[in-house]
Amino acid sequence: MSKKTRYFVLVSGAILTVGLGTGLVASYLGLPVSLLSSAAGPDELQYIPQDAAVVAYANVRDVMNSEFRQRFRQMEPPSKERDEFEQKTGLDIERDIDSVVAAFMPAAEGVTDSPERAAVVLARGRFEAARLEALALEHGGAVEDYKGKRLLTHLDKDPADGTMAVGFVEADLVALGGIEAVKRAIDAGADNRNVMSNNELMRLVAELDNSNAWAVGRFDALARQARLPSEVQSQLPTVSWFSASGHVNGGVSGILKAEARDEASAQNLRDVVRGFLAMAKLQAGSRPGMQQMVDSLQLSGDGKTVALSFSIPSEFFDALESMARQKQGQQ
């Protein structure tokens, strides 16, 4: 074998070895996702367990700073409970929380859902860990370490609800939920076995754009949890995935998407939604404010996808505001 043949074999073998090695390490040991590619969705997804059926996100900072929120803030009465909560925890939800990610992990079919493992909420913001720890201990809670992360646990008044926990997973990120769910979130982050390797769900996340609040997930998980009447539920299995995203600023705009199991089911669903839209337009005909909103509803989608988009302009809320003021004036 000549020298250049040997070099060629070495280079080729090296590409294969590096590729296979990287894949093996990523599969079995886990590598930080940010190492080689930017993942769709917020960073908090690395703490969401792989079997999550529904994931939701809200950019609290964006929503709180939006004109929409400011408009309603002026109309809100002062809340004593909120002030008390801030005094005890040092946490002003409007100011200190930047974003929230929530996930729902249902048990397998036929297995009873355990509240300790079913849901987890990850909040990113500024937290006074020492103050929260002291507060937890004062109210009969306990403090423990789990894989190097501080956990505050508290047995719920109703034993059926199990033990609730708050885990400080990063300096500015806490996980809240049942103890099992919080521990699984920490595991997901540590082992890199998280929802980011759930291709179907991540595909839906990647399709979302320019929204400051969204939710995606398996529709059957949602329907099972909602305990809908059997007549309604019998119509639902045709929908397999859903996504809802919204952008809140001066107005509110968004899109609801459903993925049916097959094209015929999607067509049926489109027909049903079209019927509802026609009915809504009839109903809204006499009310100008409502008419503007109903006119913004657009049904679209092809193949197995059904999408309904809406856009509520700030003028609509202007009209609502003036109506509310008129009412207050009359009283």
């Binding site: 590729g19 093996l24 599969s27 886990g30 590619s37 390797s197 291709n199 754009d209 996808t305």
Partner: protein, 271 residues
């Protein structure tokens, strides 16, 4: 003193591997294999600019879906058979054409060992080019976050490519050793016979390699939206064990037939 069959094959392998890698045919192979790599770079660039490279029914196909399509449509259905035709049929034909066969046949080694050594060199040479290219395509097209969930599919895909190159190579080594116009016959088999009988109902498709090779596709396909599309095309498939057994049998039988043909055939070199 004559050498044993396998040590003779090894000698021929050593000699042929360098010859094959630095022949003009390798430029053709680099172009064929480089195409998907360039395509993968374009897909990655589109992805970086927020555009989707492939949509099915208005739905964006994810990275692993795109990789699946490239793997099966480009590599397994086109590149592997084409490389096997050009390299496999030339194993003996090149020596005849260059009038160098005499130098090999006058050595004290079994004639069959010449073919086996050259066949092994072909398998090594094509794998050394194709498999790294597939690896590059995978890491370009599939987002890193999807690697843990899809890596085993890649390993299966690499195995399938190796198997495809070995089986097609054995068939075309026989064609090259036995028939007078092997390249034409090989191209007719690859682009005429296989695609035609694959879409015809009946048992004829059992006399193709693609039928068994594609039967392994669903076992390696990632569970993305494109799966249903591909499974629809390759609906009628034998079980995995049967496919593996037939592919193994094809490789062994055709390699044996090729060896026999080389040992018995009288090659006449044109003056």
């Amino acid at each position: 003193m004559s050498m044993g069959f396998w040590s003779a094959s090894r000698r021929v392998f050593d000699l042929s591997l360098g010859e094959m890698l630095w022949s003009r045919r390798t430029i053709f192979m680099a172009l064929v294999v480089g195409g998907p790599v360039v395509l993968a770079i374009i897909v990655r660039a589109l992805d970086m600019f927020g555009m989707s490279a492939l949509r099915v029914n208005g739905r964006t196909v994810g990275g692993i879906g795109v990789f699946g399509v490239m793997m099966w449509m480009l590599f397994l259905r086109f590149i592997v058979p084409v490389l096997a035709v050009f390299y496999g049929t030339a194993l003996m034909a090149d020596e005849v054409e260059d009038k160098t066969l005499t130098y090999l046949f006058t050595r004290p080694i079994p004639r069959g060992a010449v073919l086996v050594g050259k066949y092994l060199a072909y398998v090594a040479c094509t794998m050394l080019v194709v498999l790294p290219a597939v690896m590059l395509v995978y890491f370009l097209v599939v987002p890193f976050r999807e690697v843990p969930g899809t890596f085993m599919s890649l390993v299966t895909d690499l195995g399938l490519l190796g198997l495809g190159l070995a089986v097609y190579g054995a068939v075309f080594a026989f064609v090259g050793a036995y028939f007078k116009r092997p390249l034409v016959l090989g191209l007719v088999f690859t682009f005429g016979w296989e695609p035609t009988v694959m879409v015809l109902p009946g048992y004829l498709k059992q006399f193709t390699i693609a039928y068994y090779l594609q039967a392994l596709v669903p076992h390696a396909m990632p569970t993305d939206g494109i799966t249903s599309l591909l499974q629809g095309v390759f609906r009628e498939t034998p079980p995995m064990a049967v496919s593996l057994a037939w592919l193994g049998a094809y490789a062994a039988v055709f390699l044996w037939l090729a060896t026999r043909a080389v040992e018995r055939r009288e090659y006449v070199l044109e003056q």
